[in-house]
Assembly symmetry: C2
Homo-oligomer: 224 residues x 2
């Protein structure tokens, strides 16, 4: 890949690795981070720090006006608790409370608009394989269909929308990122925000496990 690419950067491990990965392939990258009513903005600070470290253009887009529309998710709704899901076979049902309706399509469509006005030919995001059981908008077949629709919407038949890690486990992403020198200590995963990763929410558990499985030292300080 070459040319200009827009990366959707949450400030977590997957999208941070994707940013380093894409830049390492000679792409001119820029990053977009969204405020969409999530309960904490800790991950946005992480995204800013990561882009600062890499000296890449970064825009933080305030979509908090969407909060009243996208109710019911544990990530945005004060009335729904963040699940401390143990990693059991039934966890997918528990994790469904963390779905923000149509989030990836919303983020991707905005990123495509930005790609058009900034002359980029690709939009990339960091969905990975373990997301697919819970989040339908992280699946490769969605990404493919969305790319087809956006090529028509923009009259750009070469436009690419990709989730290069859609078939990879998080541990493989950690392994890849370690080889690229990704500063994992800057990346934020915890759903609960705060100063330190809680260590018990589903996102913290997944992060912990990824480092163990990859055999990479985990630089994260966890509360539990």
């Amino acid at each position: 890949m070459n040319g200009k690419a827009v990366i959707i950067l949450s400030g977590g491990i997957d999208s941070t690795t994707l940013l380093y990965d894409t830049a390492s392939r000679g792409c001119e990258v820029s990053a977009l981070t969204f405020i969409y009513g999530q309960k904490h903005e800790r991950e946005i600070d992480s995204a800013r720090a990561i882009c600062g470290r890499m000296s890449v253009p970064h825009m933080v887009v305030d979509l908090s006006g969407l909060k009243p529309l996208l109710s019911g998710s544990a990530l945005t709704d004060p009335g729904v608790d963040i699940p401390d899901a143990p990693e059991t076979p039934g966890r997918y049902d528990t994790l469904k409370s963390t779905i923000v309706p149509n989030r990836n399509a919303i983020f991707l469509s905005i990123a495509v608009g930005y790609a058009v006005s900034s002359g980029a030919g690709a939009v990339l995001f960091g969905a990975h394989h373990s997301d697919r059981g819970v989040y339908p908008d992280c699946r490769a077949e969605f990404v493919k269909a969305f790319e087809a629709a956006e090529r028509l919407a923009t009259d750009m038949p070469e436009l690419r929308i990709e989730a290069p890690y859609a078939a990879m486990d998080k541990s493989e992403i950690v392994g890849l990122g370690a080889g690229l020198g990704v500063p994992f200590g800057l990346a934020w995963s915890c759903y609960k925000g705060g100063d330190v990763h809680c260590g018990v929410c589903s996102s913290c558990r997944e992060r912990k496990r990824a480092f163990v499985e990859a055999g990479i030292p985990d630089p994260t300080g966890y509360r539990a």
Copy 2:
């Protein structure tokens, strides 16, 4: 059609007619209007007045945070003039300056998120046939492809995304709206805002012509 439907309402003639049309078919409608950095908010006042008249739920979504991303359009960028396009064969090129990159995909993806959280099974918008020469995201093939992608994104195989007027001219929409008692005087078309329709911008010219061609009295006061 029955059940609940979300209508994207700009406050213009097409989307207002669509709102009346869909409600007349027994649908429980709600409306979404977007602030996206357009140069005036006159059309948003119109959308509010129309929903008030119909007593339908209406949400105005502030996306003005997108303005720095979607630069270069005559509708949002202070550095680009609104074209006073005469209706000549070459007008499509002139009108391209009014494209806001990927606008319909952005609006539709947010409306789908709202449909999911409010239990609606359909999202409708008022693209019409004469839009298709200028705006690729008003074409039926885009709408179909976007519906396919969103069905995957939401795990809702029955979700419907439709532009029922995609094959109709604006004059046919005016004719349809007249039969439904649409209060055309409340609907706003002028790209320039203000108290009175300018009468010379491309949108005003198209509005004038639609009433003439439909043989319906035009209640609009035009400055020119």
